[in-house]
């Protein structure tokens, strides 16, 4: 699993929870909230889907790590690797 793979995992989740959003030009370095219509409940959905689909736990103190696609990739890569993915 590469960082690009992880970014795609997150984008796929966002596509499910925010189906009205255009995800074709999401800037990886920009905060997701600043370019998409996402609220706190949506970020909880991202956390839940990571748990359900990939067995990845994101503690509440680390939610800030999900701010952008880049930060998601940096934060989640070791967690996916720990899962052998």
């Amino acid at each position: 699993m590469t960082k690009d793979d992880i970014k795609q995992v997150v984008l796929d989740i966002i596509a499910d929870i925010a189906p009205d959003e255009d995800l074709t030009a999401v800037k990886p370095e920009v905060r997701l909230r600043d370019q998409l219509s996402l609220d706190s409940m949506d970020f909880l959905d991202i956390v839940m889907e990571l748990r359900k689909k990939h067995g990845i736990e994101v503690p509440e103190a680390d939610y800030v790590q999900l701010a952008s696609l880049d930060s998601c990739a940096n934060y989640l890569l070791p967690k996916f690797q720990a899962k052998g993915k």
Partner: protein, 413 residues
């Protein structure tokens, strides 16, 4: 009620298993077209049910639909359609003076069952329980979803009244308008009940779940071989205003609320009580200043249970003696029992009678139960009458709640 402001209906939006507009719904009622599907109910398998096919994306973003509830989508669709029908200049309406009052039979069962099923896939670990559960299951959910979608900042809540809820929503709205709490009310009843297996299983184990090899014949009130309720979803939401306000803005007036009554059996949780039903209808007539002979259509509640239909007929035969111009019909024979929406939808399907003088029938009667025989019962075919000036809409529910709502043609004394 002469000293209180007169209340009128100026708009209507609905979704029923056999129609997503009043025109479509009415045409199917006059044509005798039932629409009942067979759906796969969790833990129970195929069951007849009334399913609505309105386009939720007409008025909601896909994310709203995903995060909300089915009954929220039904409510938003009906309320938005009612707004269009009422011809209100929405941008100029003071949204703080608008109220939303929706009758519900139950709420929250669908989401709770879904989440119990969801966590069962994860060893019943509650960390997989959705954080959307509480906003989806609070009892005001459907009315609250309407306010968020439409920017309404006046009061909103639901009225829990079992299967009398459709009438109860309208009555609540009329009362709030008379009190001056709001200037415009969106009111009626809604239901998502087909998405909870619990209601199917409950009726099944009560011996009250309807079945037939042809699902469109499964709901057959007053038929000798009726065997229970067909569960359906749906909604009907009306725009109600004080008459003076409606006249001032040049609104089209569909009908006037003439009188109502809600009372309680205080006898049994599930068995109806014809004496209390009789009292309920008589009190509604008294409040409307009407005699039984003034009612031209009685829209019955009958759900096709063995005892319930007979009890309602007993009550109606007691009140409507010597009423040669009173016709009696039933809508559940077409669409099943829409639960919280039933009363509101059943009234809606009869309202066009004020203009066209046709009375839609109750269908699926192959052999009339002699205990349900009533003068004026319109069986299987619509009838044309000389005039329709007043409709009595009956809706009764569990825990012994009875409601009778009378609406009359506007402009008729």
């Amino acid at each position: 009620m002469s000293s209180k402001p007169r209340i009128v209906i100026t708009g209507l939006g609905l979704t029923a298993p056999n129609g997503n507009s009043l025109g479509e719904f009415r045409a199917n009622l006059l044509a005798g077209k039932a629409r009942i599907a067979v759906i796969d109910v969790r833990h129970m398998g195929p069951q007849p049910a009334g399913v609505c096919d309105f386009d939720a994306t007409k008025w909601q973003k896909r994310k709203e639909i995903r995060n909300g509830t089915r009954v929220g989508s039904i409510s938003i669709f009906c309320a938005r359609e009612a707004l269009g029908d009422a011809g209100l200049d929405w941008d100029k309406v003071d949204k703080s003076r608008v109220g939303v009052y929706l009758g519900i039979t139950e709420h929250g069962n669908v989401e709770t069952e879904n989440e119990i099923h969801n966590i069962s896939q994860f060893g019943n670990d509650t960390k997989y329980w959705t954080h959307h559960h509480n906003p989806r299951t609070v009892a005001n959910n459907p009315a609250g979803e309407v306010t968020m979608n439409m920017g309404i900042t006046g009061p909103h809540y639901t009225i829990g009244a079992a299967c009398a809820a459709g009438n109860a929503g309208l009555i609540q709205a009329a009362q709030m308008l008379q009190l001056g709490e709001v200037d415009i009310a969106f009111a009626g009843g809604v239901s998502e009940s087909i998405h909870t297996f619990g209601i199917f299983a409950g009726f099944k184990n009560q011996g009250a779940l309807g079945a037939h090899e042809d699902p469109t014949k499964a709901s057959r009130p007053f038929d000798k071989n009726r065997n229970g309720i067909v569960i359906s979803e749906g909604g009907a939401i009306y725009v109600l205003e004080r008459l003076d306000d409606a006249l001032a803005r040049g609104a089209r007036i569909i009908a006037e609320i003439a009188g109502w009554c809600i009372n309680s059996d205080a006898t049994d949780a599930v068995l109806p009580n014809p004496e209390r039903q009789t009292e309920c209808v008589r009190m509604a007539l008294q409040r409307a200043g009407m005699k039984p002979q003034d009612i031209h259509i009685v829209s019955t509640h009958a759900t096709a249970t063995a005892l319930g239909d007979i009890q309602e007929c007993t009550a109606l035969r007691t009140v409507f003696t010597d009423c040669p111009d009173t016709r009696i019909n039933n809508t559940k024979s077409f669409i099943g029992h829409c639960m919280g929406a039933a009363g509101a939808l059943e009234l809606a399907g009869n309202l066009p009678s004020f203009e066209d003088n046709w009375v839609h029938p109750t269908i699926n009667i192959d052999e009339l139960d002699p205990e349900c025989a009533m003068p004026g019962l319109v069986i299987n075919q619509p009838v044309k009458v000389a005039k329709v000036n007043a409709i009595l809409n009956n809706s009764f529910g569990m825990l012994g709640i009875n409601s009778a709502l009378i609406v009359k043609k506007y402009g008729v004394a």
